[in-house]
């Protein structure tokens, strides 16, 4: 067991904790917007650490064996991370806007600033 193995275990542990909290928050929140908030934020953070664990593993194997397959694995994992980081918040924003425009109101909300802005735009 080297120090790199402990780093990989720590990253995988952060990944597991945040991904499970993200999927659990789908069942513990009252309406669409809070569910979207919890699920998107937690699963994005957990997936960042899953990809970082794979990158550390591949870099360590590249250092041990010198096989260029591991360099390819690290670079492609980073490309997957960039694709996920660009697309995930944008998709969540689109879902929230579509849910509000199709008539689903936030539960127990006192102030709805987007609704006021829409009404101000129409008048």
């Amino acid at each position: 067991m080297s120090a790199v193995t402990y780093v990989i275990y720590a990253f995988l542990g952060i990944n597991i904790i945040f991904n499970l909290l993200g999927s659990l928050s789908l069942h513990r929140f009252p309406d669409v917007y809070t569910r979207l908030h919890g699920a998107t934020k937690c699963t994005t953070f957990g997936t960042i650490f899953a990809v970082l664990a794979v990158v550390v593993h591949a870099a360590y194997q590249l250092h041990l064996t010198g096989d260029p397959k591991y360099l390819q694995m690290a670079l492609h994992s980073l490309v997957a991370l960039v694709a996920l980081l660009l697309t995930n918040p944008t998709g969540a924003h689109a879902i929230a806007k579509a849910a509000h425009l199709s008539g689903y109101k936030p539960a127990k909300a006192v102030i709805d600033a987007y609704e006021e802005k829409l009404r101000g735009g129409e008048e």
């Binding site: 991904n19 069942h27 979207l36 699963t43 994005t44 998709g91």
Partner: protein, 87 residues
């Protein structure tokens, strides 16, 4: 199986994906189901990257890239359809 810790991490991530799938089945409204599908896509990309490291195959990670981009297009299409038709 080269690295068993990545395999067990992928199994636990897939348990989280099953929890998100329950929200897709029992969601009371349509945006709830869309939120469940979006979470499921992110978790499947994470699990596929972990399985690529576990089985020592880079092609799984390439498929994860393509899956992330295609699921983004699908999410945008569903959101556009929800807010009043594909115009």
């Amino acid at each position: 199986m080269i690295a068993p810790e990545f395999f067990y991490a992928a199994v636990i991530v897939m348990i989280g994906a099953f929890l998100a799938l329950l929200r897709v089945f029992f969601g009371p409204s349509v945006p709830d189901r869309v939120v469940g599908v979006d979470t499921l896509n992110t978790l499947i990309v994470a699990g596929m990257v972990l399985l690529g490291a576990a089985y020592d195959r880079t092609i799984y990670i390439d498929i994860a890239i393509v899956y992330a981009l295609l699921s983004y297009v699908g999410t945008l299409a569903i959101a556009k359809y929800l807010q009043g038709g594909l115009r």
